[in-house]
């Protein structure tokens, strides 16, 4: 089974062969490295850019303007902050030109904690990204979703920000990507670049088939009746584990993987919360002006009289960084035990 890095690579391979992707670029994206997380090894249209994030976003915008289809990588989302006005510009180019210039471009970047990345390799970007109108924002939690969502992103006519949770990059999926060899290790032999000299190496691509996961559709990964948990990215699998564990304690939780943050699948959330009356939003970006706060606003606006308990947000602590020591990281972003406790407490609240 492909892990998320391999799934991204397979999607990009499919996209450059069949969806017209012309340029996959960024710092260390081309050979020999193929990306610091190996997401771009062995691909046909990759190249190494100068170490210049603003240049990377500007180049992607220019390529998109001239009819190319770029996929640009920012090596870590911690380093995307100096591009923020170009992101804003990409988001308003169609609007400011009153519909004349659209930018079909994908920017992908690894996000979040979980690899002991200390202060500058652990940031999240979803809260900031959802303050920039004009972008679609995607954050998968499984390799198959990463594959399908990236294929959709590469067919978009608008800018798409594809956030890849670092902590999940090396976790194998539970579902096969269509066309992927089913035997364990076989995929790695075909598409992982060897250590050492790679000058003669070429990826042997399996004939992967497209999977359609439209942007904007959430997935209910566990059905439940008493409590809704909405999450995405690194914290999603933890929510699912917590829900399964709580089942034996008599708590029946529904878990929704949002998958796309903009546009987001409000219909799925709304139907679930209307049914359960309790909702916990979970993500790991800092909690002040967090995207989950917006979801809570909408929950109280539209579902107030259906609620049995206050809608809750479990997110990262509002501190300037994520410290390196295990204890510091664990205290800063939601952990399995925090999610478990928050769900249990919410399930027990009575009007």
């Amino acid at each position: 089974m492909a892990n998320m890095a391999q799934a991204v690579r397979l999607a990009l391979h499919y996209a450059e062969e069949h969806l017209g992707v012309t340029d996959i670029f960024g710092e260390d994206v081309g050979p020999p490295l193929g990306g610091v997380f190996t997401c771009t090894q062995g691909l046909k249209t990759t190249w190494n850019s100068p170490l210049d994030e603003r240049g990377i976003i500007g180049m992607a915008m220019g390529i998109a303007m001239a009819g190319g289809r770029p996929v640009a990588e920012i090596q870590f989302c911690d380093y995307i902050y100096n591009t923020i006005d170009l992101l804003k510009l990409a988001g308003n180019t169609l609007w400011s030109s009153n519909g004349q210039w659209n930018l079909p471009m994908v920017v992908m970047t690894p996000v979040g904690s979980g690899i002991r990345g200390s202060i500058y390799h652990s940031h999240s970007f979803d809260a900031s990204a959802t303050h920039i109108p004009g972008w679609k924002i995607v954050m998968p939690s499984t390799p198959l979703d990463a594959y399908g969502l990236l294929l959709s992103a590469c067919q978009e006519q608008n800018p798409v920000l594809f956030l890849i949770p670092k902590a999940l990059m090396r976790i194998k999926g539970e579902e096969l990507i269509p066309g992927e060899p089913s035997e364990d290790k076989a995929l790695s032999k075909l598409i992982d670049a060897p250590l050492g000299d790679r000058t003669q190496w070429k990826a042997q691509w399996p004939a992967v088939q497209p999977v359609s996961i439209p942007l904007g559709q959430a997935k209910t990964v566990r059905a439940g009746s008493q409590l809704t948990v909405v999450s995405y990215g690194r914290t999603l699998p933890m929510c699912l584990l917590a829900a399964n564990a709580l089942a034996s304690e008599g708590v029946d939780a529904e878990v929704i993987d949002l998958r796309t943050l903009w546009p987001y699948d409000w219909a799925t959330i709304k139907a679930s919360v209307a049914k359960t009356g309790r909702v916990l939003y979970v993500n790991e970006d800092t909690e002040v002006t967090n995207f989950g706060e917006h979801l809570i606003r909408r929950t109280t606006d539209e579902l107030f009289y259906k609620l049995l308990a206050p809608p809750k947000l479990l997110a990262g602590k509002f501190v300037p960084g994520i410290g390196l020591a295990d204890t510091l990281e664990a205290a800063s972003v939601p952990q399995q035990s925090d999610i478990h406790a928050a769900m249990k407490k919410l399930a027990a609240m009575e009007p």
Binding site: I63, A64, G67, W95, S97
Partner: protein, 379 residues
């Protein structure tokens, strides 16, 4: 009274007085920005080494562009627009530029990454001035932004004019991208980027130089800087140590030059040489043009005519008259004709409606219906 546009710069003196300069208040012309030790070859000679037709066409566009800007300023001053910024003083260079552009849509044609002083270039390309007037008045009919953006913020996909945007210098980060596609596409289409001198302090300018000149991957990009030696109120020499901005390209192995942008003839000839190089060699060229700024930075600094900077139109007219290609009367008549035509267009635009408020939802995403994503069924 609070300045009407708190987000635009108000010079400290005015801020202290707490008022924006009213249209009628005489503003002292600013002291000239410290002169450059380097002087580009000032041609301005009696010799007019271009075809008569071209000379007269350039003159015609320059006058029309000046009249357009003066009409836009008049609209601002009479309350028919919230903010003015534009290119009076740069007509010589900008007209020459426009006449050399290969106009069209897609990578076979030139991509244009402009800033906000480019009206003469658009007119030289054959654009009708009514669009600029409509944008000034922010009417629904504004062809560039539908009433969404400031004057001088052109966007015209049919001619590869990328949307002019307010953040200084960002266009220099995007221009290598269109040029990269054109390099691959082949043909002779190039990308052209323009901006001012102060903006070259931004990282985007360095980005442009780096990305345009990657070894073996150079791109067909004409990098232009119009140096008026001002960034709003800050003189060039206060903040930048490099004598010629064009020198910054030298370190990247680029062809570079600094030219007199106030002389349309030398601007045309110098640009022509640069255009030909970029078109055929498919490599970048950095041209710095020394220009004047004749109505200050923008309406925020009063938009009044300054008399202590060279006026490219007056200089050019003197030369054309001396050569017998024009008379004072014919020059004055041309100006009067355009002034009247533009006044009439402004009268027309004044009657046109603003965009409906509900149009804010249009064009957020291409291919998707215009709607408020948070609207509920109940409303």
């Amino acid at each position: 009274m609070a300045p009407p546009f708190p987000w635009v710069y108000t010079p400290p003196a005015m801020a202290r007085e707490g008022k924006n300069p009213s249209p009628s208040s005489p503003t002292k012309p600013p002291k000239p920005s410290s002169p450059s030790k380097f002087k580009p070859k000032i041609t301005q000679s009696d010799d007019l080494p271009l075809e008569k037709d071209l000379l007269l066409r350039m003159h015609d566009v320059m006058v029309k562009a000046r009249c357009l800007e003066e009409r836009l300023i008049a609209m601002y001053k009479s309350g028919h627009g919230y903010f003015w910024i534009g290119g009076p003083g740069e007509e010589a260079f900008n007209t020459a530029l426009g006449l050399l552009i290969k106009k069209g849509e897609g990578p076979a044609y030139d991509y244009l990454h402009f800033h906000y002083r480019q009206s003469a270039t658009l007119l030289a390309m054959g654009e009708e001035p009514l669009g600029a007037i409509r944008q000034m008045k922010n009417t629904a009919t504004d062809p560039y932004s539908g009433g969404r953006n400031f004057a001088g913020h052109f966007a015209k996909k049919a001619w590869n004019v990328a949307p002019v945007s307010s953040p200084i210098e960002v266009q220099y980060s995007m221009a290598p991208g269109t040029a990269w596609v054109q390099k691959r596409f082949g043909g002779d289409g190039i990308s052209i980027v323009t901006g001012g001198d102060a903006g070259t302090a931004e990282g985007d300018f360095a980005t442009c130089l780096v990305w345009a000149s990657r070894p073996g991957k150079e791109v067909p990009l004409l990098i232009l800087v119009t140096n008026n030696r001002w960034g709003i109120s800050t003189p060039y020499t206060d903040v930048q140590g490099v004598e010629k901005i064009s020198d910054r390209g030298v370190a990247f192995g680029m062809r570079t030059k600094t030219i007199d942008g106030n002389d349309p003839i030398s601007a045309y000839l110098e640009l022509k040489e640069a255009f030909e190089y970029v078109r055929t060699e498919r490599k970048p060229y950095l041209v710095e043009a020394r220009v004047s700024r004749l109505y200050g930075h923008s309406s925020a600094s009063g938009a009044n005519f300054v008399t202590n900077e060279a006026d490219c139109i007056a200089q050019f007219e003197d030369r054309l008259i001396k050569k017998g290609l024009l008379t004072r009367q014919s020059a004055d008549a041309l100006r009067a004709k355009y002034a009247e035509e533009l006044a009439e267009l402004a009268r027309q635009a004044k009657e046109e409606p603003f965009p409906e408020g509900s149009t804010i939802w249009e064009h957020v995403f291409k291919g998707e219906p215009a709607r408020d994503p948070l609207a509920t069924e109940e409303g």
